[in-house]
Symmetry: C2
Subunit: 137 residues, 2 copies
DNA sequence: GCTAATCCTTCCAGTCGCTGGAAGGTCAAG
DNA sequence: CTTGACCTTCCAGCGACTGGAAGGATTAGC
């Protein structure tokens, strides 16, 4: 099938599919007219990539996951370790975002948000802690 | 002062400070020897940028925040709106990460993680839902 | 058979926010 | 006078695409 259909079936944009070929994640045949010709197995691979990317695995991790997937002798422990590391990263990001929120929320809360120029958010960014700016900095 | 001291005082790497000059976020004087010469006000600006970036504002948002900061006539509502949008984005990212986690965690939990090749994580990526892969896909 | 629309190709450039490195000038200490 | 730290510019690369130009192939309709 042509790239357009492979794109529809895998859910990946054609541009992305060509890019994945560039970086050797997939290697479709070529038809006589030069068009890429995707097999069902190629599409399967693309869907695999689509899912794995959606789960936040990097391209290199996807590459590894694919090789583990096609290696009938690999241990599931290898895959589990990668997934666990992803979970750890996800938790760390959630933590970071929550402390970001904790820093930003009080600033928003105490900013009156009206026509007056006095703004605690800018004051904080400028480094005025626990005071209101009166004069120019 | 030279860039090294400005770097120390602002907490930003010298490379980043030069980059900020490139994109017109800061415009230090030049000494006779061609070295950049930062004033206290420049350092203040850099610290402002450092804080705002740490709160997750994009470079363009920082540019706007700086202009709002130096505009004595701006309304605090403008800044509050930006900060609130940041909070919304933060919440959305937290949500996304949490559903990511919810998708990945059960896969990790049900993967036995041993020497056997059978692996529910790969099965899921390959699109085998609610079964164990027995034959090749 | 002709034309227009759609699909495909390759290649190059841009995104974002830096970061690394090369090649070379300047300055302070010993 | 040399060494080393600091500074300069410029160019390239990161990750993972995405946009667009220029042109070839195919298909549908007239």
């Amino acid at each position: 099938m042509n790239i357009g259909e492979a794109s529809e079936r895998s859910g990946l944009p054609a541009k992305t599919i060509r890019y994945y070929e560039d970086i050797d994640l997939v290697a479709p045949d070529r038809a006589e007219n030069g068009y890429r010709d995707y097999s069902l197995s190629d599409v399967h691979r693309l869907r695999f990539l689509h899912r794995a990317r959606n789960l936040g695995f990097s391209i290199d991790e996807c590459r590894l996951l694919l090789s583990l997937y096609t290696d009938r002798n690999r241990a599931s422990a290898d895959v589990k370790a990668m997934a666990e590391q992803r979970l750890t990263e996800i938790d760390a990001k959630i933590q970071a975002l929550q402390s970001l929120k904790a820093a930003l929320q009080p600033l928003v809360d105490c900013c009156h948000g009206d026509e007056r120029p006095d703004c605690p958010i800018l004051d904080d960014l400028a480094g005025f802690h626990a005071k209101r700016s009166q004069a120019q900095a």
